[in-house]
């Protein structure tokens, strides 16, 4: 069973000619089949955690370890991490001019699976996945994220999640900017992947709204660059009622 283990992770970023520590010792273990929600106020470092796990060059790991089934993830290049089974659904997916969605998906699936998917089954697979997400077939001919609405970008991220079948899925504020219908469609996509029992999900969010659709096994409160409290789904209810105030004041000095 795949396990992602994050131990005492410290991460810095260069900003305004200064080095700033964003993550200050994150510990977290996510196992295949589990869903962990990471909730926290803006600026707490949630997205930094997501991008650091995926290997974005902007972030420097200063100490700590991340392993996937014992393999050192931090030693891997960005594409190696993806091929090892780490998937990041981005908050702000990037536009790639000149590359069609269909070409992108196939190239990506080929890289992840280690061989080109058979054309006939692939076409069917993509078509079905797109139907599930309420995506028009013409979507496949558009350039990646170019001119996509906020909702289209997020559906496209979840489409990739469904096709690439990672071991660990990190969803970075996938719910942000979505109306209720889009949120439902996207959540159903995530749930289809979760129901296979083969993915460990790290659901990063600012709001509790998405947790009505995607039920977490554990909820972690993230503040001041680390996890300050962990609990069951009931912790989300507490946050819903009380907000993050208790953590931003106490957490910052802790």
């Amino acid at each position: 069973m795949a396990t992602l283990e994050i131990h005492d992770l410290h991460v810095t970023v260069e900003a305004d000619n200064a080095t700033k520590e964003i993550l200050k010792g994150v510990d977290l273990t996510v196992k295949q089949g589990e869903t962990h929600a990471i909730m926290g106020p803006n600026g707490s470092g949630k997205s930094t955690l997501a991008y650091s796990l995926a290997g974005h060059p902007k972030y420097t790991i200063t100490s700590g370890t991340v392993t996937l089934d014992g393999e050192d993830v931090l030693e891997m290049s960005v594409d190696e991490r993806a091929r090892a089974g780490v998937f990041l659904a981005m908050q702000y997916p990037v536009e790639v001019p000149g590359v069609s969605v269909s070409n992108f998906l196939r190239t990506s699936a080929t890289a992840i699976r280690g061989e080109a998917p058979k054309l006939r089954t692939w076409v069917k697979e993509v078509k079905e996945a797109m139907e599930h997400l309420n995506m028009d077939p013409s979507f496949a001919e558009r350039n990646v994220n170019e001119g996509f609405s906020g909702g289209e970008k997020k559906r496209h991220e979840i489409l990739q999640l469904e096709l690439l079948k990672p071991k660990i899925a990190i969803l970075d504020e996938t719910d942000s900017g979505l109306d209720v219908d889009a949120l439902r469609i996207v959540s159903e996509g995530v749930n289809r992947v979760r129901e296979t029992g083969e993915v460990g999900t790290l659901l990063i969010t600012h709001y509790t709204r998405i947790l009505r659709y995607i039920k977490p096994d554990q909820v972690h409160v993230f503040a001041g660059g680390k996890i300050v409290e962990s609990g069951g789904p009931e912790l989300a209810d507490k946050l819903e009622n009380e907000g993050y105030e208790a953590y931003t004041k106490g957490g910052a000095s802790a």
Binding site: S77, R81, A82, L88, P93, V96, P97, A111
Partner: protein
């Protein structure tokens, strides 16, 4: 392109639409068009038409010091049956009818060539196979002139393929009779040291269609003037270009579409990718709609994809409209970069860096490549694009 308005450091994208009583396209040149090199002063580099060009790398083509060596280029022409292929002297009346040299090097070429080539597709002859003109650089200096003429309602595809190493100044005239259809693919696939300067003039007959692909990959300096004018109403010009400018290369395309006749169309689309230190692409797109050219429909577009730091693009679309009685006129220029975020996104989906780059560049060029319609050329261009990318990574 999404990054349409992102202009990388070190590039300029200027554009203007002028409604002019007097043509600035013509007057901003330092001398009026002429076949005689003596009518042009030796450029010093600050003139409008030379300011982007590294004169010191032109190997003397611009100042009269480049003397033809006799081993400049070898030209082989392969033509299907029905096509007349001739080599003629300087006094042949069929030379120089499509346009007059507009700068000193084009005039130098016209003043210095010894023999010219004339390829004629007789009227109503429709070719099913391309005419292939191989220009192989043999390391020396050469001046040349080539005429390609299609009689009324003739149809042909011509591939002019430049390879090897040479210092070449050569002009090409395309003359299209009424209703003729000509597709030209000019490939500049030179070795690294080559210098190639020339003016390509197309004169489009009534209801004729001219489609041009200018594909520039190689050379140290390539500077071409693709130019179009119309000899009758109803003419259509499609001018497509692709360039892949590598470290240290200077590739300059200076277009003019002269809408000098009513009810003609033009569509210009040039796309370039750049990578490496000192890669410099220049695109000048001039469209002039003369007062008499009512009913004109024109659009021009230049797109650049900057793959690495250190490359520079100068893109200058310029549209001059002397009559308001037109169907449409527009232009666009955009320079975007393949940036670290795009690379990260593709790599985060398991795609290795080199493949990510290839995916983006192939996609960027694909829409133009697919329109060429000559299979072996299309395939070669895609292979070439891959080679260029592999050389850099």
């Amino acid at each position: 392109m999404a990054e349409a308005q992102n202009i990388p450091v070190g590039s300029t994208t200027a554009g203007q639409i002028a409604v002019a009583a007097e043509s600035t396209v013509a007057t901003r040149m330092s001398a009026p068009p002429s076949f005689d090199v003596a009518d042009f002063p030796v450029p010093h580099g600050r003139e409008e038409e030379w300011r982007f060009t590294p004169l010191e790398r032109l190997r003397g083509l611009h100042d009269g010091t480049a003397v033809a060596t006799g081993d400049g280029v070898k030209v082989d022409i392969e033509a299907p049956e029905g096509v007349v292929v001739e080599t003629v002297g300087r006094d042949d009346a069929r030379l120089g009818r499509a346009g007059t040299p507009v700068d000193r090097i084009a005039a130098q070429a016209y003043s210095a060539f010894e023999k010219a080539g004339v390829v004629t597709v007789p009227k109503e002859t429709v070719l099913t196979e391309p005419i292939r003109i191989a220009v192989r650089g043999e390391g020396g200096v050469a001046y040349g002139h080539q005429v390609i003429e299609l009689g009324a309602f003739a149809e042909a595809v011509v591939v002019i393929d430049h390879t090897g190493d040479a210092v070449l100044a050569a002009n090409v005239d395309y003359i299209l009779g009424d209703g003729a259809k000509l597709t030209v693919v000019s490939v500049q696939d030179w070795d690294d040291k080559a210098v190639h300067v020339g003016q390509h003039n197309a004169l489009i007959g009534r209801d004729a269609g001219f489609k041009s692909f200018v594909v520039t990959f190689g050379g140290d300096v390539v500077r071409l003037h693709p130019r179009v004018a119309y000899a009758g109403t109803g003419g259509e010009a499609e001018l497509f270009g692709l360039y892949f400018t590598d470290s240290g290369q200077h590739q300059e395309h200076r277009l003019l579409v002269d809408h000098n006749t009513p009810h003609c169309k033009s569509n210009v689309a040039y796309k370039g990718a750049l990578q490496g230190d000192g890669a410099h692409a220049v695109w000048i797109g001039d469209v002039l709609i003369e007062a008499k050219a009512e009913g004109t429909d024109t659009y021009e577009m230049n797109r650049n994809l900057v793959l690495t730091d250190g490359a520079r693009v100068d893109s200058v679309p310029n549209l001059e409209i002397e009559t308001g009685e037109i169907v449409g006129a527009g232009h666009a220029s955009a320079t975007g970069r393949f940036d670290d975020e795009q690379l990260f996104y593709l790599m985060a989906r398991g795609i290795p860096a080199e493949e990510a780059r290839r995916l983006v560049v192939r996609g960027f060029f694909a829409e133009l490549v697919q329109q060429i319609g000559v299979d072996d050329i299309e395939e070669r261009l895609l292979v070439k694009i891959d080679e260029e990318l592999e050389a850099s990574v």
